[in-house]
């Protein structure tokens, strides 16, 4: 049971906080007084300049995507690094490995070629029109 106590507390706290916040706002907020200005997101702030759903260049997504891809690929470096540094593990998971470095090199070369492709396709050139 002890193991679950933090979880229970966490859940309780979450529920309490949510209901309290809602309850307080319902209590303190003045209902019935609604008009256009009241309903704008920033009642007392700057006038709205443009629509919230601004259109980004599609490049933004592509670069974001590329970041994720290269980022995720690096994940494989962890098991490699662990097994490279830990010969016990290396024997356990990948017995008979004499080529660990070469394997990593091949992996990086392929990633590098991917990067060359990306650069050559001009994806990272920001100033060009999409």
């Amino acid at each position: 049971m002890n193991d679950y106590l933090p979880v229970l507390f966490m859940a309780l706290f979450g529920v309490l906080f949510a209901t309290a916040a809602l309850g307080v706002s319902a209590l303190l907020g003045q209902r019935g007084r609604q008009n256009r200005v009241k309903n704008t997101p920033y009642e007392c702030g700057m006038p709205i300049e443009s629509h919230a759903h601004a259109r980004f260049s599609v490049k933004f997504y592509i670069v974001a995507m590329l970041f994720i891809l290269f980022d995720v690929e690096v994940v494989f470096m962890y098991p490699w690094a662990v097994s490279f540094g830990n010969s016990d593990f290396a024997r356990d998971a990948f017995p008979g490995t004499g080529l660990l470095l070469a394997e990593a090199a091949a992996f990086v070369v392929v990633l590098f070629l991917g990067w060359v492709y990306v650069v050559k396709k001009g994806v990272l050139e920001w100033h060009q029109e999409a």
Partner: protein
Amino acid sequence: MNLTLLLPEIIVIVGGLAVMLRDLWLPADRKDGLWAWALAVPLIALAATFLPQLDVAARISVDGAMIVNPEATALSGSFYLDGMSMLLKRAFCVAAALVILMSREYLSELNRGQGEFWSLALFALSGMFFCASANDFMSLFVALEVVTVSFFVLVAFKRSSGTSIEAGLKLLVMGSLSAALMLYGIAFVYGASGTVFFDQVVVNGEVTRTGLRDLLATGQLVYSTELLIGVMLIFLGLGFKTSAVPLHVWVPDVYQGAPTPVTAYLSVGSKLAGFVLMLRVLEVFSRSGPMVDSLTPFLALVAAVTLFYGNLGALPQSNIKRLLGYSSIGQCGYILLGIASAWTVGISGTLFYMTAYVVTNLAAFAVVILVSRATNSHEIDDYSGLGRKNPLLAAALTVALLSLAGVPPFIGFFGKFMLIGSTFGSDELRWLGLVGMVNVVIALYYYLCVIKRIYMREERHPAKSVVPLRLKVVLAISMAALVIGGIAPQFLADKTAEIAEELQFAPRPRGGEHR
């Protein structure tokens, strides 16, 4: 570590990267020539598969038991080269080469993304290669996903066309779903067995890593419900690739929507990759009798439903690609007959049929590409009078469809014969053989409907197809294979029988007395 065994894979991957990079530095007006580079890759890989260094005995006898030869494995046992993977790799090479020959015109017209198309096709090929050699669930999953993700892009390659994108989306959603299901199944198997590897690793007489084959063979891993559920989920996930019920719904839509060369590639490459993995997984689990006994009714059920779904669904179709899509589901059902029977003859028939299916289906799609280039349509009605306009094309399509229908003397006949025959070995599966026979008749009907239009209808579309040399080569090769394979099937039948022996399935059908 035996890197030589990986030579075909290395060739294809390096080739794919080379084509991709070559495209970057090639001026736009010379990109049409890239197909030759792409074509060279599977051909070189095909040649490499014949190297004597790759000819390693897949099994060795230790203490009277045939076990996997460590010499035939690479990458710490994740990669296994046996007769089946060799046969399938050759088939994949041929398929890729023929598809590349077929795609050149399509890409010239599209005038975009040549390098991407060819390199993706080659990456898919490398994925298929690894599928054929996968020897653990990790490489199985990754290889399969390499194929699938490449095909997501290839199917949606014509991004200006709504149908192509739609097909891509459907493939993507269904593919991801089935991958997730399969993965969950693998998790179950891992949970039940504690290993994702098929083979154990022994260092200095001590087992450093357990493998499923050995666990099952020695009885350390016994039949349990979660194991069964896991394997079933794996089969369902693989069934997505092979277009087996219940994850088959994407097939007609994607076949219709995808660019035709991609459909052709998908219909043979991706499908066979799924089948070879099914065979591999089944082979691993056939080490345990109770597992096979519980899998058999499951696979039989899938096979029967798939057969009926594909063949009945094909009947009302008016679009040839869609028809071939349903027919592809039906063909999957036949292959599942052999897999369900899970004994030597059935597996031999399965391999035979898979090989035959490559050339047969590609021939049909080659004609579809040519005809649609002239008529700009995939309606079966527009094939009317093809026999008069393009007698050779008509003959090629007729032969291909007859072979798909399983009419002698074409190669498809023997495959069907062996597959249906294999189910008659056991009392449990005899009903499945009858289902198969009924479906042969149904299938014959819709194939003949197409042939009837070709020869016995007035032509609707006057445009004659011009057959470029590349397509002529495709048709010549596939026709030769169809006819020679039909007249002299012995060579291939012997080869597949030998492989089936090597895979060590039950020599006689289970659950049936031998007459």
